[in-house]
């Protein structure tokens, strides 16, 4: 269960197990608890009761160091991509590795490699504001995957994109999933589920919809 300090219960009665390598869609109306669940998965919020285990880390009782270690093994993609517009694509994408202490000499080849995966290897020295919305989201994907995390959490990554671009973004996430990465994606775009199948977890008012058990 997750209860905010205000007393509002954001999530309750959730019981599920997501195996490594799955592609999971979190769907539900606004306020259903999708974003809250994603935040709990990276330790941004802690359950007020019950148990939540991510990559062997019990989130509820985890120390700050454990949460930090866990975050280094998780890639996060936001709806608004949250790129740093005063920094180059290189600096944006390289940030997770800088945080992990990689030296600059090793960064460039790795950044170029992930940028070529998302098809933007020629934009390494560009600033995000010179890129389209779809390209910015691809940069966000590159940033999330650069440290080769076993899990990628995506909070409505296609929310602001047109259908074609959204499909392209999902192609990339599916490709990552095929490489063994667990992808958890909160979305409203239910039509994407037909072209890119995966496990669907439907939330309603902070609880799993009846009959749901991934």
């Amino acid at each position: 269960m997750m209860r905010y300090k205000t007393g509002k219960v954001a999530l309750s009665g959730l019981n599920m197990d997501i195996p490594q390598g799955s592609f999971v869609y979190l769907v539900g109306e606004s306020g259903a608890g999708k974003s809250t669940l994603l935040k709990m998965l990276y330790g941004g919020l802690r359950p007020t009761s019950g148990q939540l285990k991510v990559q062997g880390t019990m989130i509820r009782g985890a120390s700050e160091v454990q949460i930090r270690d866990l975050r280094q093994r998780i890639g996060i993609i936001f709806q608004g991509n949250r790129l740093l517009f005063a920094r180059t694509v290189f600096e944006n994408v390289a940030m997770p590795l800088r945080v992990q202490g990689w030296d600059t000499a090793r960064l460039l080849p790795r950044v170029k490699k992930v940028l070529s995966f998302v098809g933007l290897e020629d934009r390494v020295w560009s600033y995000p504001e010179t890129l389209s919305g779809g390209e910015q989201q691809r940069i966000a994907i590159a940033r999330a995957m650069i440290s080769n995390p076993p899990i990628i959490l995506a909070d409505e990554p296609t929310g602001n994109l047109d259908e074609d671009t959204a499909r392209h973004i999902l192609d990339l996430l599916t490709a990552l999933n095929k490489l063994g990465t667990t992808v958890l994606m909160a979305t409203h775009d239910l039509h994407l589920l037909t072209s890119h199948p995966g496990l669907v977890v439907q939330l309603h008012q902070g609880a799993l919809m009846t009959g749901q058990k991934p």
Binding site: L45, R71, Q72, A86, T88, G101, W102, T104, W125, S126
Partner: protein
Amino acid sequence: MKHLNKQSKSRAKQTQKRNGNRESVHLPGGWNLPPFGVHQFLALMIVAVALWSVGLVWLALQGGQQWVGSWQQEVKVHVYVDQKQKKTLTLLQQSLEQISGVENVRLIERVEATVWMEKWLGGSDLDAEGFTKHLPESFEVTLTEPREEGVLLRIKQLAEGKGAAVNDDEIQLVQAGDVLGTIQNLAWFATLVLGSAMALIVSNTLRMILLARAEEIFLMRLMGAREWFVRLPFVLEGLLLGAGAGLLAWILVWPLLWVSESWEQGLGIDLSGWMMFLPLIFSGAVVGTIGALIATTNIVSPENEG
């Protein structure tokens, strides 16, 4: 591909120029030093002026201490008795010795006075011994350490009551030394107050930069950055800003020293600007670091956003 990279780089430069963004300085370990902007420049100037004024107070104190000279270490007062009253010497010596706060009273021998006179005449052909004959008898009164309050007044009153005289210049020097002691305490107080103000200015500046970079800090934390990874660039910036202000303050000390050179020579003071180099830079760095530590003590990231 090379052509594309070149194009992309030049476009990036143009964008950077248009945005007025500056490249961060990369440090070993993946740290970036925040870019130097107008806030830092203003803070640098303010801290430099504050450090400069503190530096001047201490320089002035140094000058004052040089002027007062050895009186700071061992206070001695001379009492003069006219040769006509030579018979009262023993009584006066005994009375002086009985004053509370007087450690020792020594009658200066004629031979010693002659040596002093020869030195004073600077080895000229004048008859030092002849001059010495006309000098009054002198007592050298050594005071206890720490000096008792009112001892100088007691010596003066007793000496004058018995027809002797005290060297007033020496008393004034001792009093000047006392004033300098008070000024030194005030200088410490001013240093502390200005130091705190400087630390708060640096802290405030860095706080503004932290606010401007809140998103980046939030992302770094989200990616599992250690707390010191987030804080260290700002602490380093504070240190550099303070040390830079110290250097500027030190440079600003020189014109004043040059202007006051003739005045210094008149008072027999030799003030060195070089002496202020390390203290100003070191204290600037300390103040900057403290300011940065205050600024980064509690960086709150909006965990509940996004």
